[in-house]
Symmetry: C2
């Protein structure tokens, strides 16, 4: 940091933290809406449903009862116990409450884990494509992201060979997501165990991002937690997606017992505590009433997934992966004859359909791919598909793009 | 980070992030309470009042209305405008909403500012004594805290000479709090302008921590914002203290216009957004009804301050500073004949009174000082004073400590 000509200069790391490309596109979408156009939104990374009523009601009650103060830095005992119970009863793994750390969203969790595990100069393996913000966390603590290119022929699932090839002497550990963003790919227990064994052998840590846990549409084995495959994993999770609590900013991490005391020191210093009202409300997320709503929403997502995937495939696009989880499809749009970034801009400008270009998720064949989120209603999905169909016809007829 | 003998080792920075000493003392207090003892709490750094009813009611309404989703990364337009209006109408400074960034508590704000301004290897000047967590933030981003020892003879207020003496070639900037924790000291506009001029000349940035803004008990000139003295300051603030919203985790920073775009990129990556329900509720913090409650509470704090300060002075303790703000007294307890750390432990163990030893706030004469927070009711303050009086008699009579 320096002041030059009366301007404060920002830290060097800002050079490597780019704005998301989709933000400009979303501004354009908002502009079009302000002009009276109806925009179809396939770019949004959060459920369109509001938080389920039993959780909202619990939040309202919590406020009335005065839950407006700091809590323990690692979260309330009640919520940590509730999470432990959910792991035991619904997911079939014994995780003591002491190993569960409640955080300010999964973002807060990933910051704590980065500060806890990544030394200055360390590398963190992340996937390309992957969640756009993953690279920022190691950078903040003086480390670096080391992207591993996922391969189409492997269904965009991480291969031990690829991980081994990308592992460097300064690599401290690995961050993987399952279900994954942007591909929706889900890793099964066998693959997770294989990766865990490799990481263990390499002397690193393995953070498994399970923020889309519960939002899976495949056979039962993919519907659980990686902790079933390896109880020693570090798990990152969130109340945002399956439990529909994005705006409340609440997540959790599961860490080995030896890491609880140091992560507590970090949490005290960096966050003081997670939100008290969100924690109190989240207790209701596990009630039978709320779980029934979450499950109904999951089925709703599944129906939309089939509708959108079927429609896009009928238009000649191909999914990168089986897309058995999350609420995303990562589609190869190269049959349109357009680079995916141009595709997205022409789609919003000419047909008022917003989607996220691959470049926001990495460099691996990003120019071919677009992420479509099925976080909008069935009717909008139908309209969006119709508009994309018309776009392809128009672009083809004006000649030579395809 | 390395795995050794199946144990994941934590990052080196953990060595320099100590647990707060008061945590052990608070555990002891909780244990005593579980055994049926009544403990007097002078150690708590948050208001004992719940959030004011108009804010709670606005939070309940926000939940009912479905404010449960992500907001803009820099906060809602409505809250940024409300803060701008409050600066203009109540504090007499014109700060456009665009320069106000809503954060996940002041903690979230300080993290963003550290990531924004501090390069790896940079130093950040902080005060000793000061808020215990200040040192952790530069460390997280690869920098270092550079403590400036405050001097008793200057009322524990920062002197330009002291700052100049502590400024190193790698010093990037300065973080000061007014009102200050643990001393309660308030800097006036003239001193702030003087410090700002020095920092500007040294080519650094100046972050002014105003999280206790509004909680001042001196003459009017000390009751405003440092932005009155220098509109170019970077200001850190919070809804936790004056507005009584600790558990909601909501704060804000004011930055120069040139820093808005880069801090937005960081906020998108590291936080996604601040809590939606907290932001919606905070809009009600500026209503006449809520402001009347805040002002009544400020007067209440002032009455307690006089009671506690008078009582402790009568017992022979001396305040480090005039203590015109926040809700802390930083008292020299050396007349007790005990080191302040021993003093606190004997006080909780033998007389069930909890207070925070100076060692949690730095090294500067820490063994002489204890922080007493007046975040407990008048009757408890009276009981606490009586117990401390009995402690001093007992310790004196058992001989030779004084």
């Amino acid at each position: 940091m320096q002041v030059q000509d009366d301007r404060i200069l920002v830290a060097d790391r800002l050079k490597s933290i780019a704005p998301f490309r989709v933000m400009e596109l979303m501004k354009r979408a908002a502009q079009l809406e302000a002009e009276g156009h109806r925009v179809v939104h396939f770019e949004v990374g959060e459920p369109d449903f509001n938080t389920a009523e039993p959780i909202v009601e619990a939040g309202r009650r919590a406020l009335l009862e005065g839950h407006t103060k700091y809590t323990h830095a690692l979260g309330t005992e009640a919520l940590r116990e509730a999470l432990s119970k959910d792991y035991r009863e619904r997911l079939g793994v014994a995780i003591p409450a002491e190993r569960i750390v409640v955080t300010a969203g999964a973002s807060g969790g990933l910051l704590l884990l980065s500060a806890l595990l990544i030394d200055s100069g360390d590398g963190l393996l992340i996937t390309d494509p992957g969640y756009p913000c993953n690279a920022a966390f190691p950078r903040i603590v003086g480390g670096a992201a080391q992207p591993v290119a996922l391969r189409a022929e492997a269904g965009y699932l991480p291969q031990v060979d690829d991980l081994a090839g990308a592992w460097r002497p300064n690599t401290a550990g690995l961050l993987l997501a399952s279900p994954a963003n942007p591909t929706g790919a889900v890793m099964d227990g066998a693959r997770l165990a294989e990766v865990a064994e490799f990481v263990h052998g390499a002397g690193g840590f393995f953070i498994l991002d399970e923020i889309y846990q519960g939002l899976t549409y495949g056979p039962p084995p993919t519907a659980g937690t990686g902790l079933q495959a390896d109880a020693g994993l570090i798990v990152l999770n969130s109340f945002s997606k399956y439990f529909g609590m994005t705006g409340w900013r609440l997540g959790w991490v599961v860490v080995p017992e030896a890491l609880v005391a140091p992560i507590e020191r970090l949490a005290q210093n960096l966050f003081i505590s997670p939100s008290s009202v969100a924690q109190q409300a989240a207790l209701a997320a596990f009630s039978p009433q709320a779980m029934a709503i979450h499950e109904a929403r999951r089925q709703h997502f599944d129906a939309r997934r089939r509708q959108l995937l079927g429609g896009l495939e009928a238009l000649g696009f191909r999914a990168a992966a089986p897309a058995d989880g999350a609420f995303y499809l990562y589609m190869d749009v190269s049959s349109s004859g357009l680079d995916s970034y141009d595709f997205c801009w022409r789609l919003i400008n000419e047909f008022q359909v917003a989607a996220t270009p691959g470049i926001d998720f990495g460099e691996r064949e990003a120019h071919r791919f677009v992420r479509f989120a099925y976080t909008t209603d069935d009717e909008s999905i139908g309209l969006g598909l119709e508009r994309i169909g018309r776009a392809l016809e128009a672009w083809d007829s004006v000649g030579g793009q395809a």
